[in-house]
């Protein structure tokens, strides 16, 4: 692993490894631009969309090409196949329509990386079962009434959606406590998941 890898969240580090130098990538919901900066250092033509103006100003201040916009609306302005990769990290569950978002990602990108918190992670299930309250965790830290996560999703839900939309799952990775975990019983054991789809 390079130094940039270790500074990144594990799902982003995987994406960084997978995206080849010289390719074009769109980071949808790019936040503070950490992944974009690392991609750029690797020689990737990285562009970003971010809704938070202060974060966009930070990104542009670093020389990154980031557009302030709403992923639910602004992806439509990009032509088909404009990018080799579209990246949506920890944002799918905030989309107005995650199914349409997934289709849009694979319209503007030949491939897409999608990561999301797994609502079927055993701690979630346990919190709901034992306390009967919506879980509040590290990856879902906001109470139900204030959360932007309006479409909670599980590993199995995502796989079913991909199947429904005819989206091919190329690879998948699972993480708990910021460490990779195996595929076995991932829908129980994974705190969040990353899929590479096409």
């Amino acid at each position: 692993m390079t130094e940039a890898d270790t500074a990144l969240r594990p799902d982003l580090a995987v994406i960084l490894r997978r995206v080849e130098a010289g390719s074009r990538a769109l980071d949808v919901g790019c936040g503070d631009g950490a992944l974009m900066a690392a991609l750029r250092a690797k020689g990737v033509d990285a562009r970003g969309i971010e809704i938070d103006g202060a974060l966009v100003a930070d990104c542009v201040g670093q020389g990154l090409s980031v557009v302030q916009g709403d992923a639910d609306r602004d992806l439509t302005f990009y032509p088909d196949g404009a990018f080799d990769y579209a990246i949506l990290s920890q944002t799918l569950q905030t989309a107005e329509r995650p199914d349409k978002m997934l289709r849009e990602l694979l319209r503007v990108g030949r491939r897409a990386f999608v990561s999301f918190p797994n609502f079927a992670y055993w701690r979630m299930r346990w919190a709901l079962l034992s306390r009967g309250r919506m879980p509040v965790t590290r990856h879902l830290p906001v109470s139900w009434y204030a959360t932007q996560n309006i479409h909670h999703v599980t590993v199995k839900d995502f796989e079913a959606l991909a199947d429904e939309l005819g989206v091919a799952i190329e690879r998948r990775w699972f993480f708990t406590n910021e460490r990779a975990v195996g595929e076995a019983q991932a829908n129980w054991r994974a705190e969040y998941a990353l899929f590479e789809v096409s």
Partner: protein
């Protein structure tokens, strides 16, 4: 640090309106050294009533340059690193050829000056770059009408620029923009001292009309929030209303001051011609109706910045440009910054703008 300079163009300028402009002079200022490769030049384009005194004292008003907070050694547009060029646009009145200039037939052009467009202004600027042997700009930067020139240059001279920074601007003048300009023009032309533009040989210029034009325009440069905070309903130099038509309110007094100050540094006919050029600006129309097509040939990186309180060129106008750039897959950044000062925010203390400008240009 700087010396007044003027370039006389060897070739006449062919204009969008079909005419030609001969013996064109372009007055400009430069800051910072041009490197040996001639690759570190940044062209800054000024706004409607701006001028080439970007970061040096204005010869008429004695005030500091209009963007000194942005341009200088170690500043976001770093003259320690870049060779910064700023020229007075044609049609203006600070040394470049405009309606007050001597016409080939003798005497000032006045209303015989041809109606020009933003693209014509840009043709003048590109002719200046030719004269300065600057083949490709590191960047073109502009706010308001300066942003229109930046977009026009990127679109019409795509090989001449590597970065385009367009702030608080638009790719087309809206009906509301045209309407406000028309109010200003009518104020000038209603002034009996205007004399169909032939006031240069008379004692009086249409200062009253020009001042009203400036007052009306000035309101569009500010936000309601900014006006309320700065003036509210406070009275000027009195405790009770005067029940007359003196400038009772501070905001009135301020606008009158702005209006009369403006007439000392600006030519009324230039105001007519430059507002007209802005009204005709529609970058898409120049390119078969498609704004995306306007940018297709460009290899530049773009950055657009809008301000949340700017109602003259609101964020939607910048977004419209961004979407056109997205449609042809151009590298573009865009941010709406929060600032209380309305359209004028691009000239004022907005630290986030400094960061964006510096980051974009220094990459």
């Amino acid at each position: 640090m700087t010396k007044p300079q003027t370039l006389s163009l060897a070739q006449p300028l062919l204009l969008d309106g079909g005419g030609t402009l001969r013996d064109v002079r372009i007055a400009y200022e430069t800051y910072g050294e041009l490197n040996e490769e001639r690759s570190n030049a940044i062209l800054v384009c000024h706004a409607l009533t701006g001028d080439q005194y970007l970061a040096s004292t204005h010869p008429v008003t004695g005030k500091p340059g209009w963007w000194e907070r942005m341009v200088g050694p170690g500043k976001p547009i770093d003259t320690g690193r870049f060779h910064v060029v700023c020229a007075n646009v044609i049609g203006s009145c600070l040394g470049s050829t405009g309606p007050a200039s001597e016409s080939p037939g003798g005497g000032p052009y006045a209303m015989a000056f041809p109606v020009i467009t933003i693209r014509d202004m840009v043709r003048g600027l590109v002719a200046l770059l030719d004269g300065l042997h600057i083949e490709k700009l590191h960047a073109v930067v502009g706010g308001s009408m300066g942003g229109m020139q930046a977009l026009s240059l990127a679109s019409n001279f795509p090989d001449r620029v590597a970065r385009v920074l367009a702030i608080a601007t638009t790719a087309r003048h809206s009906a509301q923009n045209i309407a406000f300009h028309e109010v200003g023009r009518q104020a000038i032309m209603a002034d009996p001292e205007w004399r169909e533009g032939h006031y240069y040989s008379h004692d009086n210029a249409p200062d009253a009309g020009l001042a009203v034009a400036r007052m009306a325009a000035h309101i569009t440069y500010l936000s309601e929030e900014g006006l309320t905070e700065k003036f509210g309903r406070r009275l000027q130099d009195r405790d009770t209303p005067g029940f007359g038509f003196d400038a009772d309110f501070q905001v009135e007094s301020y606008l009158r001051y702005q209006g009369s100050g403006f007439t000392r540094r600006f030519d009324a006919n230039s105001y007519l011609y430059i507002t007209r050029a802005m009204d005709y600006f529609d970058l898409a129309q120049e390119h078969g109706g498609s704004l995306a097509e306007a940018f297709r040939a460009s290899a530049a990186r773009f950055c657009l910045v809008s301000f949340d309180t700017d109602w003259l060129y609101p964020t939607e106008e910048s977004r419209h440009v961004v979407h056109a750039l997205n449609a042809v897959a151009k590298p573009v950044s865009f941010v709406e910054l929060s600032a209380p000062y309305g359209h004028d925010s691009f000239l004022l203390d907005v630290p986030a703008l400094d960061k964006v400008v510096g980051g974009f240009l220094n990459d």
